[in-house]
Point group: C2
Chain length 202, copies 2
């Protein structure tokens, strides 16, 4: 029992995609959100929670048969912070840390997640753990419970970047592959990755 939950943010409208819901775009025949959720399920993180919002039914359908839990965020249009809150608020008291994953990073692998959890557990279970690729911090970031209140206090679409900066001395960095920094947030990026925006994803 790791006590580390994965929270996958999959509620956004993907505005930079110009409308279509990028999370339903397929890479090698599997939707992005299903790939990310499958990766989390292949790691030691449990539970794996997917926060839905925009196109909830389609996201739920894309996850059919997977052993993930869904938390719906009816306020998704108010910004990513509302999804982060909904996800954190859903965690039980037995959860020691939350690993925050972005639904549009389909190249993340389970080994990286497990390494992040390992470092958390062997470093005293108090540090923020962030993956780094070529000198840049990526995702997912692991947050110990003591930061849950601060994570929930974030507003708007900034994400937790400011919080990492504020607590820079409490971050342990873990070297990782490019999957931790590669997101697909434009139609061009999806295409370049061999992906396909489906007509029904419009």
């Amino acid at each position: 029992m790791s006590g580390v939950a994965a929270v996958i943010l999959a509620a956004g409208e993907g505005r930079r995609m110009g409308g279509p819901n990028k999370l339903l775009a397929e890479i090698d025949g599997t939707s992005m959100i299903r790939r990310v959720t499958g990766t989390a399920l292949a790691s030691r993180a449990r539970p794996v929670i997917v926060v839905t919002g925009h196109r909830r039914e389609a996201i739920t359908a894309a996850l059919a048969g997977l052993d993930s839990a869904e938390v719906h965020n009816p306020n998704f249009a108010r910004g990513m912070a509302t999804s982060l809150r909904a996800g954190i608020a859903s965690l039980g008291a037995d959860i020691d840390a939350a690993l925050i994953l972005l639904g549009d990073m389909p190249f993340m692998d389970a080994e990286t997640i497990d390494r992040i959890i390992d470092v958390f557990e062997t470093s005293g279970r108090t540090a923020i753990i962030a993956p780094v690729h070529e000198g840049r911090r990526g995702n997912p970031v692991l947050w110990p419970r003591r930061f849950f209140t601060a994570l929930m206090a974030i507003e708007g679409d900034k994400g937790a970047r400011d919080l990492i900066v504020t607590h820079a001395t409490e971050v342990i960095e873990v070297a990782a592959g490019e999957g931790v920094s590669r997101d697909l947030d434009t139609p061009e990026a999806v295409k370049a990755a061999g992906g396909r925006l489906l007509p029904d994803a419009l």
Copy 2:
């Protein structure tokens, strides 16, 4: 040491007032927000935290010399929930419960606050405690720490009403005077209460 903090919501724009910041309106020569804060300080609740937002400097000035703490909410325009979050997020781990006060209820008295805290302490420190006047629930409501996450997950301007309804069986009601239900949120109400909207409050 009660372990109960008072969180006074004083960040709003007071839109129903038609513009002027109602919290600076004077009743018997003292601004509403100073009255409410003084009442909280006369009770056993500690610390007394005032969440500011709209017209922060004027609110701070109105509280000059009082032993309250200020927490500023730069996101106040996004709704009352953002102020509730900022207030809860500011509480230390030693706080067992938060009493949420509204800045526009100048007729609340310290005895009622102390009675609410008494009931919390003698009832096992787990229940929500709400004052009731003439069959209607009013404010302030005391929330034990186990509800802090749920309070922080509220969005928009609804306040905690839905949360009380969801946890109806966990609420203990305390009979109280009309101060717990009398808010001054229109110019007419201020006037009827003998209050004065100052020119500099426009």
